[in-house]
């Protein structure tokens, strides 16, 4: 309760810029309710003046009719205005929240992003924001108009006849009970339905994702048979959930109809006794309907509100996730680094209870090529995370040209490293724009030059629209190797003083790799490079090989020295790389 009221306060705080608009829409809502309640009264009065032949007062009726027309026109205008105000608030809240969430995302530490699945964060930015704005604002209006309608109707009915009003007040909540009863019973049916649906989605996901294998093994018929079993179960579950949930409306309508009959009866009796006029009876009957409707809506609105609040909570969680520590105010920009990288007693853990890198020492001189080898999970990629300051060290320091990297601006530090990862990431944009990502101001001819250096020019030219071909995730028209070549071209374009290559050529054939290596060699004159690789040639020519195991550098030196040591590296080398030259 406390947390949800806190949440509510937070929501109001977030909406403060829109409070005048919301207040305005509340006033408009009140006006529209008043208008729509006033019209039946006017109609009732008019009917009372149209009794029987010779008993019609035309002048009064004309006056009342003019008032009805005026009220209806005004109410309609107010309704439109209310919707317009409401839309404006809703859409701009959505936009502002999304912009803020996205901007925040750019400053969240990698630690957060690595720990939270991307799909979850995405749904916070997209669907949660939508449901929050939509649900919350829609519910506010509905709740407000609903409550106003109920009280307004009640007041009007009381002014006409208190006994009939009593009947309506006592009976109407029955429909709420019935609706709640049905909702409670159908909840488990819906859960079953969504479970089976989930199972089917997973199956479809797997079999369509693996459609090639399915065909290769001629399993189409078998798979279709399996699908039909799940499908039949889904049909049954769907039928039950759909049917039982669709009983709500008929049941509540039944109750309204009963109330209507009852009100008709008591109202008619009152009319017979002369307590009310026929016009008032007509008015009360139309109220009996209007009064009941908001009750049902309000039940829906309350679940909606709860849902919207839950969504708001998830959005705020994202917005409140602490940013990475900002650059120190006196942080220096690293300009044209020499590439002297030192790690002094660096320790780092992803999780406090799992030691990973402990007391790591490293001194990479400008222009050196450092190869990092070791079994999976030994901390190779972590080292890169630390160099790029995607993560900060727990203790110790990383010095670039003698300056603690935490005293440098992140932007300038990262701009000094050219990074190519095994996991290639390309934007949904043209090939040209993808290469240009590293240096947006680069000219077209520079882009082509970089692509040539990366041996990507030839295949790019063969793409349907050459450098203007838009890369899409779905088409998958590029092979893993080609994607890596594009990422290498990116780095070739910006030529930073230091390089990080994390299995950057793992999907590229050895001949092309060799050529790229030569291009790298040319551009790496005087550039310090860190290379995680599994291929012999790359590693052997390194100025220094770091052999990592369990977060420690257990051996360090040149290829020949390490082989001579006959330690872990030698063992690794013989099991992994030893060529059986034919």
């Amino acid at each position: 309760m406390n947390s949800s009221s806190k949440l509510l306060r937070r929501v109001l705080h977030e909406l403060r810029a829109h409070l005048p608009a919301l207040a305005c829409s509340a006033v408009l809502a009140a006006l529209s309710v008043a208008g729509s309640l006033y019209i039946p009264i006017l109609v009732g009065r008019a009917i009372d003046r149209i009794v029987s032949p010779g008993n019609v007062s035309f002048a009064e009726v004309a006056q009342l009719l003019a008032r009805i027309a005026l009220t209806a026109g005004l109410t309609a205008a107010v309704q439109w205005l209310m919707a317009a105000v409401h839309n404006r608030v809703c859409f701009s809240v959505t936009r502002t929240l999304r912009d803020r969430a996205f901007a925040h995302l750019q400053h969240l530490p990698l630690r957060y992003l690595d720990a939270h699945p991307g799909g979850d964060t995405l749904s916070r930015i997209i669907s949660d924001v939508d449901q929050f704005a939509d649900g919350l604002l829609m519910s506010f209006t509905q709740l407000f108009t609903g409550v106003l309608t109920i009280f307004g109707t009640l007041a009007f009915m009381l002014s006409i006849d208190w006994r009939i009003t009593l009947v309506v007040v006592v009976l109407t909540p029955l429909s709420l009970l019935v609706a709640r009863f049905i909702a409670g019973r159908t909840y488990s049916l819906f859960r079953t339905q969504s479970e089976v649906r989930g199972e089917q989605t997973a199956f479809v996901d797997e079999m369509i994702g693996g459609a090639r294998v399915v065909q290769a093994f001629s399993r189409e018929r078998h798979v279709t048979e399996q699908f039909s079993q799940i499908n039949a179960r889904l049909r049954r579950a769907s039928l039950r959930a759909t049917f039982f949930s669709s009983l709500t409306n008929p049941s509540t309508r039944l109750i309204y109809n009963m109330i209507y009959a009852f009100v008709g009866f008591t109202g008619a009796l009152s009319a017979v006794s002369g307590a009310i006029t026929v016009g008032s009876l007509s008015c009360i009957l139309s109220y009996a309907n209007q009064y009941a409707k908001p009750f049902n809506e309000i039940t829906g609105v309350i679940t909606e509100l709860q849902n919207a609040l839950a969504c708001a909570g998830r959005v705020f969680e994202l917005l409140d996730a602490p940013c990475e520590t900002p650059d120190a105010p006196d942080a220096q920009a690293l300009a044209s680094a020499n590439g002297h990288v030192q790690m002094q007693s660096v320790s780092f853990r992803y999780r406090p209870d799992r030691p990973l890198i402990e007391d790591l020492q490293l001194d990479a001189l400008p222009g050196q090529r450092i190869a990092i080898v070791g079994p999976t999970g030994c901390g190779k990629t972590t080292l890169i995370n630390l160099l790029m300051r995607f993560y900060d060290v727990d203790s110790g320091a990383i010095l670039i040209d003698g300056t603690d990297s935490r005293r440098l601006t992140r932007g300038s530090l990262r701009a000094s490293f050219g990074m190519v990862l095994q996991d290639t990431w390309l934007k949904h944009a043209s090939v040209r724009d993808n290469i240009r990502l590293s240096r947006p101001e680069a000219s077209d001819s520079e882009v082509v030059q970089a692509a040539r250096a990366a041996h990507a020019d030839a295949f790019i030219r063969r793409l349907p629209e050459g450098y203007d071909t838009v890369i899409s995730d779905l088409g998958g028209s590029l092979s893993a190797g080609q994607r890596q070549l594009l990422c290498i071209a990116r780095v070739m374009l910006c030529l930073p003083p230091m390089l990080i290559l994390d299995e950057a050529t793992s999907s590229i054939d050895t001949r092309t790799e060799l050529r790229i290596q030569q291009a790298f060699d040319r551009m790496m004159q005087g550039r310090t490079s860190f290379v995680v690789a599994h291929r012999l040639s790359t590693i052997r020519e390194a100025d220094m090989i770091l052999v990592m195991k369990d977060g420690h550098i257990i051996e360090q030196g040149r290829h020949e020295e390490l082989l001579a040591k006959n330690g872990f590296y030698a063992a690794l080398y013989h099991s992994q790389f030893a060529p059986d030259a034919p």
Binding site: S36, V43, A46, I47, I50, P53, V61, L65, T75, A76, N87, T94, R95, G118, I125, I126, R197, T201, V204, E206, M207, G209, R212, V213, V214, R219, F227, S228, S238, T242, F243, P250, R253, L254, N257, M258, Y260, A261, F262, G264, F265, A268, A271, V272, V278, L281, S282, S286, K427, S438, L474, G475, G476, S477, S479, I508, T510, S537, D580, P582
Partner: protein, 575 residues
């Protein structure tokens, strides 16, 4: 739509009964104002309380009757909707199984999955709603008009004028806003794409300090979404107020005419109230109708997307002949084969000719994108050649039934993919009737015995979806075993030992050379060491056959091969 109707046909009875019972319910509702008119004109005017009681009991009975009709209608609607969409789902899934690689490439998995799941759900909901409500609103609206005519023709003329006007308003607003809503959806997709891309590329974006540009791009997209939403929001917000105003003006007209008619004695006061009630009913129905049309339009859009997919023919016609037995003809023969992906620029393979005798081991090597995978995909006829001809056992693969052709081929794809289930179930994909001994034999050969033995339950150990509870190397070995279980006469390994260490790779190679049924083996690899022992090596360079022969021959004759070799073995390594 056409497809949906086809699957609705088995539920024809339910699909007719549902709206029919809805109609009964609506008819009962339409009688209510008439009864109230009687209560007023007879009961109240004459002070007859027992008449009033009887009429009101009748109203209550109508309520009960309406409830019963409506329950029946809901049941039939649900049965027809869930049944028809289950049929449609089954048909679509079956159809997707018949699509060739060519179509799968162009469509992309995520499109297909969306069609199968969320589009299907929309169709089911839309169908259910249509069966229940699509007829109801027009029936109530026109029924109210008909009832008005039974009361008084002159007053009813007002209905006859107002109803068309209202329908024009509803449809005008709908027709203008529906395409606009589609645009809003497209803008929202662009926002989603930007956020998804940003999340997946966070390291690269930060490495190149692109955060500010990304933010600006995202703001541009949310602004475009905002503009689109606001525009359509303003338009669609017109619907309810305009309807409301028009109906109330009609009520004014009814009261005005009614005053004259009551004065002349043509109708009674109770009947006037009934006319007023009918007009109010129309208002309620139209508002429901508008929102119904919206969700039906959505469902129709989904249904037409599903229909398009169902009508997409498989780009590959199945052959008719069974695969001939191995004769004197080569196991695989490529004759002047060229191949180009649909819509994809240049040739991937050009003018390849080669004949592979039975039982040979063939290595295929070449640079990234040189066409190695495309070449073997042609053998199993995952794609059709653009020019030339591929023959297996002497027969053109296009003439053979896919089942007999692929049944003779065991393929281990580059991407080692396993499916949810048990290890045994996965291996049985190779041959459904294989026994455990045969499975273990295949596992032995694929160097995968230890993987299975380490798992609790051995062959019955669970495999999670995509095989994510196994490492890359383990998955590769299991997919090799899966292909071996089939004892195929042609075995294709598409770079499928890349994650294996040197020793395992060598052991695997030895085992493959000693398979008792002596299949023809194709091995694609980047590593010379993995194919050097082959009887024949095909060297591909940019889609052309740059060389063909044994390792020794190629070292002498093929420059490309020598260069690859040079990149992997420096002189000092060769003793």
């Amino acid at each position: 739509m056409k497809h949906l109707m086809k699957h609705l046909r088995p539920y024809g009875l339910q699909a007719v009964l549902a709206p029919l019972f809805k109609l009964f319910e609506a008819a009962l509702e339409l009688l209510v104002p008439l009864i109230m008119a009687d209560v007023i004109d007879v009961g109240i005017a004459q002070g007859d309380t027992s008449y009033i009681l009887r009429r009101c009991l009748l109203l209550a009975a109508f309520g009960l009757g309406g409830f019963a009709c409506s329950v029946v209608a809901q049941y039939f609607a649900a049965a027809a909707a869930t049944g028809a969409s289950a049929g449609l789902r089954q048909a679509l899934f079956g159809h997707i199984q018949t699509l060739s690689y060519q179509e799968l490439d162009t469509l992309g998995a995520s499109t297909l999955i969306t069609r199968m799941t969320s589009d299907m759900n929309q169709v089911q909901t839309g169908l259910n709603l249509s069966l229940r409500l699509l007829l109801r609103s027009p029936i109530v609206v026109f029924g109210a008009m008909a009832m008005a005519f039974t009361i008084d023709t002159r007053a009813a003329l007002i209905f006859a004028v107002v109803i068309p006007v209202l329908f024009v308003i509803v449809f005008a607003v709908m027709l203008t806003t529906v395409p606009l809503y589609r645009r809003v959806q497209a803008k929202l997709d662009r926002v989603t794409d930007a956020a998804r891309e940003n999340l997946s590329g966070v390291r690269v974006i930060r490495a190149f300090s692109q955060e500010a540009r990304e933010e600006a791009d995202f703001r541009g997209r949310t602004q475009a979404l905002f503009d689109a939403q606001r525009f359509v929001g303003r338009l669609s917000a017109l619907l309810n107020p305009i309807t409301y105003a028009v109906i109330n003006l009609a009520i004014v007209a009814i009261l005005k005419t009614g005053a004259v008619r009551v004065d002349s004695g043509a109708i009674t006061q109770g009947q006037l109230i009934a006319l007023y009630n009918y007009m109010s009913q129309i208002l309620v129905e139209l508002i429901k109708f508008a929102s119904l049309i919206l969700s039906i339009t959505k469902a129709l859009a989904c249904a037409s997307r599903i229909g398009q997919l169902l009508e997409l023919p498989s780009g590959m016609a199945d052959g008719t002949l069974p695969l001939p037995q191995a004769q004197d003809a080569p196991a695989v023969e490529l004759q002047d084969v060229s191949f180009r992906y649909r819509g994809g620029g240049a040739n991937v393979l050009s003018g390849i000719t080669a004949a592979i005798p039975h039982g040979q081991t063939v290595g295929i090597i070449g640079g990234t994108g040189s066409g190695k995978t495309s070449l073997v995909n042609l053998i199993a006829r995952f794609y059709d050649v653009t020019e030339g001809c591929v023959r297996v056992n002497g027969a053109d693969v296009r003439a053979l039934t896919l089942e007999s052709l692929r049944g003779a081929i065991g393929i281990v794809p580059q991407h080692a993919q396993l499916f949810r289930g048990t290890i045994r179930e996965n291996l049985l994909w190779g041959r459904p009737d294989a026994n455990d001994a045969q499975l273990w034999q295949a596992l032995d050969c694929a160097q995968a015995r230890s993987i299975v033995e380490e798992k609790p339950g051995m062959l019955d150990a669970a495999v999670e979806s995509g095989g994510r509870n196994f490492s890359g190397g383990q998955r590769q070995r299991l997919t090799i075993a899966r292909a071996l279980v089939r004892r195929p006469s042609i075995l294709i390994l598409d770079d499928s030992a890349s994650a294996l260490d040197f020793a395992t790779d060598a052991a695997l190679r030895r085992a493959l050379q000693n398979l008792p049924w002596q299949p023809t083996v194709f091995i694609i690899s980047q590593r010379i060491a993995s194919i050097a022992h082959a009887d024949r090596i095909l060297v591909l360079d940019d889609g052309r056959l740059a060389g063909s022969g044994t390792h020794r021959e190629l070292l002498d004759s093929c420059a490309v091969y020598r260069e690859i070799w040079g990149s992997q073995f420096k002189k000092e390594d060769v003793q």
